[in-house]
Symmetry: C2
Subunit: 456 residues, 2 copies
């Protein structure tokens, strides 16, 4: 496929410039102040799709941040690929740990450094450029539709309604997504499973105002102490989650499938070394890859209360808070799990405090088949560019919208991501290797080629 | 004592103006940026002591914030009273809960509203004005020395050294302090016991960087989850503290003394209503007043880790932190307790995390006798102004320096505070009723009068 390599080689600097334009827009979906940036970012994507050669592209308003839609119909009888990506990014706290400014992208050590460099501006943008490549080289074999949303990092609260309203327009044979990682730079892999997510915030209130811990300490329940007790009780001594009914709907994975998973290349020593930890942690009876791949979890993502400034303050605070998320496996319903959490948390709250549980967002887990034309096409495309057949694997991450696509549009997704574990997505110093960016742009046209052949 | 009431009546507006000048200086000792304010505040105090009529007053530098010293020697054979107060104040977070600006004092509903209005600018300043009153009315019967420090709220780290260096200058018969509260507005009381304090900060480190909770959650220990488990384990099911050796040196209080304490006016129903709680909390086997008066405690004063901004972020953080203070009873050594805490916390830390314990500050507890001339003089003075004999009681708060005074200077303190529980010290909307301020100024000269008679 010489035309692919040639086009990428001739245009690689411009591709990067255009990606940088996207990365410079601080499109943090969870922070209200960034609303104007969301619109700007959507318009940037629209213009990119248009200039690549789409028939049309437009910014659709929603009750939240807008969705960009664009399409190129080459032949009503050709197979149709619907590309999904998101232009929103995570917050950048703790900002002081960044080595560069999160919204001033730079290339250093062969990597792009910026918030969104991988997740999902860098990965999403590969599709815009691969689309351009196929059009400019007259090799596009499928109809293409783009659907780029701005609320993925907050659980896509408005996309479902938009999907319902635009079902006909969005008809396709497969949804193509690059928002996942490879098992390793030279370990091509395709994500066949995703975990669901239930994300709650809890508030524990003790006395009605902050108190002096000397005058009241020991006689009035301290909401931080109590919150710690409550959270601590959510895992038992085997690190099983103690919420009644939590595991009821978990689809147990067969011994055979677990055996297959065990063959994935993985070094626990390297894993521990990379994270600088002495021991891994997790649910008794499962391996590290199983713990993130096939088991549900509960993590505190944030906690705060009382005095957190410099020095000492002897306060017995009125309130303490935590953000808690549960990763779910296929068949666990995120709304049901949120309900179970709320019921349990309220039930175990002692009488000296009041608790409030708010559901922030969630999504269902997902499993995709490995015998579909899309999987086979993706596998063949990656084999071409990596020189190695990719491994199907279940990721611990969540892209809640993937299961919604199937529910509303009735269409399966194929997840071919080119990210690496070291990309630090959601963290300070997010990055994306140039090699992965260009490899993605080269792999995608091959997917279209093989998919058009197999889907006939 | 008509001359007292008359002088206060004629000068009350000026007294308030001068106090407001002090309250306007944001002398937060724990925040480095306020260093210039500390110097300014010390100079303000010095000028007040001088203008009241002291022989001399000066600002002594220390390795931390300065100490103000001033004196009036009327007769080397007369008894000498050493007044102690502090000009530093607590931080003002959470600032959004204040109804007025913390460093712009106002009078509303008969109260002064400002950070430090009670603790300890308002209470300390009563002594400056009572001193002025006695001098201007030619009724000062004792020598007076002032020692006003700027590091009380951070545990007086430099005062001990200064006391050592100035032992001779500081010689006195009693140390007079107003930095405590009354049991109620019409319940005069004298604090005869204070709790000690050991204040630590803990840091729990899991992985070496923030991780994506989907990709790593369930397989890598979350430092917030672990911190919660560790803190939760510090109290058992009876709310006893589980640190080995923690109670070893606790001086048990006799059944008789506990019986006496039980006679103090106290309504648990009103207490709960005032704090808006359904149940009190605390160590099994003790009453609410005992829990704050004669028992040691452990409270989390602050906790933080992970994402604490708006919305949701699925991070598995690298670190989690807590500020933890233990209130101690007489005979417990704060350094020993800090050591026990550190040893225990390190011992219970599981192998998947690293913990670090830092000792922020502390001080010993204190008990004062009720048969001393100073106690009797204070009791008589309060009986005059309140029309009721005060009750001796043990407070849950800590003024670590009080036990240091006894150690280094060999002098006992008498704690006559005029604060009320509703003054919200250390909290948003700190206030001090005008009535308490003026009542304090009227009571203090009576203390000098009776003390000069009894100490002869």
């Amino acid at each position: 496929m010489d035309h692919i390599k040639k086009y990428v080689e001739e245009n690689k600097d411009r591709f990067l410039d255009e990606l940088f334009g996207l990365l410079r827009i601080p499109s943090i979906s969870s922070i209200a102040d960034h609303k104007p940036d969301m619109q700007k970012c959507a318009e940037y994507w629209r213009d990119q799709i248009l200039s690549a050669g789409a028939d049309k592209a437009e910014v659709f308003p929603t009750d939240g941040h807008p969705v960009v839609y664009g399409e190129k119909i080459i032949d009503p009888k050709a197979p149709t690929v619907l590309v999904y990506a998101h232009y929103d990014v995570m917050p950048v706290d703790p900002i002081e740990l960044w080595n560069t400014k999160p919204f001033e992208p730079v290339v250093k050590d062969g990597k792009i450094w910026a918030r969104g460099a991988d997740d999902d501006k860098g990965q999403g943008f590969m599709h815009a450029k691969a689309f351009e490549l196929m059009l400019k080289t007259n090799t596009l074999p499928c109809n293409v539709k783009f659907m780029i949303e701005g609320e993925e990092e907050v659980g896509s609260p408005n996309l479902g309604k938009w999907l319902e309203q635009n079902k006909e327009m969005l008809k396709s044979d497969v949804i193509l997504v690059s928002d996942t990682s490879l098992l390793g730079k030279d370990e091509p892999s395709i994500t066949t499973g995703l975990r669901g997510l239930s994300y709650v915030e809890v508030e524990v209130t003790g006395p009605n105002k902050d108190l002096h811990s000397g005058l009241f300490g020991g006689a009035v329940a301290n909401p931080i102490n109590i919150l710690n007790k409550l959270i601590a009780s959510l895992h038992d001594e085997n690190n099983h989650i103690t919420i009644p009914g939590f595991y009821d709907d978990v689809m147990e994975v067969s011994a055979e499938e677990r055996g297959e998973m065990g063959k994935a290349p993985f070094s626990e020593d390297n894993y521990k070394k990379a994270l600088d930890i002495d021991e891994v942690w997790g649910e008794k009876g499962f391996t590290t890859l199983e713990r993130v791949g096939i088991r549900p979890t509960l993590d505190v993502n944030g906690i705060w209360g009382g005095y957190i400034g410099e020095g000492a303050k002897t306060v017995l605070p009125s309130k303490a808070y935590a953000k808690i998320s549960m990763r779910l496996v296929p068949n666990q319903d995120h709304n049901k799990i949120a309900e179970l959490f709320k019921k349990h948390f309220e039930a175990i709250a002692p009488p000296y405090v009041k608790v409030k549980v708010s559901y922030l967002h969630g999504g269902q887990g997902y499993v995709s088949p490995t015998d579909s034309p899309a999987y086979k096409a993706a596998s063949k495309a990656m084999e071409d560019t990596f020189g190695k057949k990719p491994i199907p694997y279940r990721s611990g991450g969540s892209i809640p919208i993937i299961s919604t696509f199937e529910e509303i549009l009735g269409t399966k997704s194929i997840l071919i991501g080119f990210g690496l574990e070291s990309d630090a997505i959601h963290s300070p110093n997010e990055n994306y290797p140039l090699e992965q960016f260009y490899k993605g742009i080269e792999t995608i046209p091959l997917f279209y080629k093989y998919f058009s052949e197999m889907a006939k």
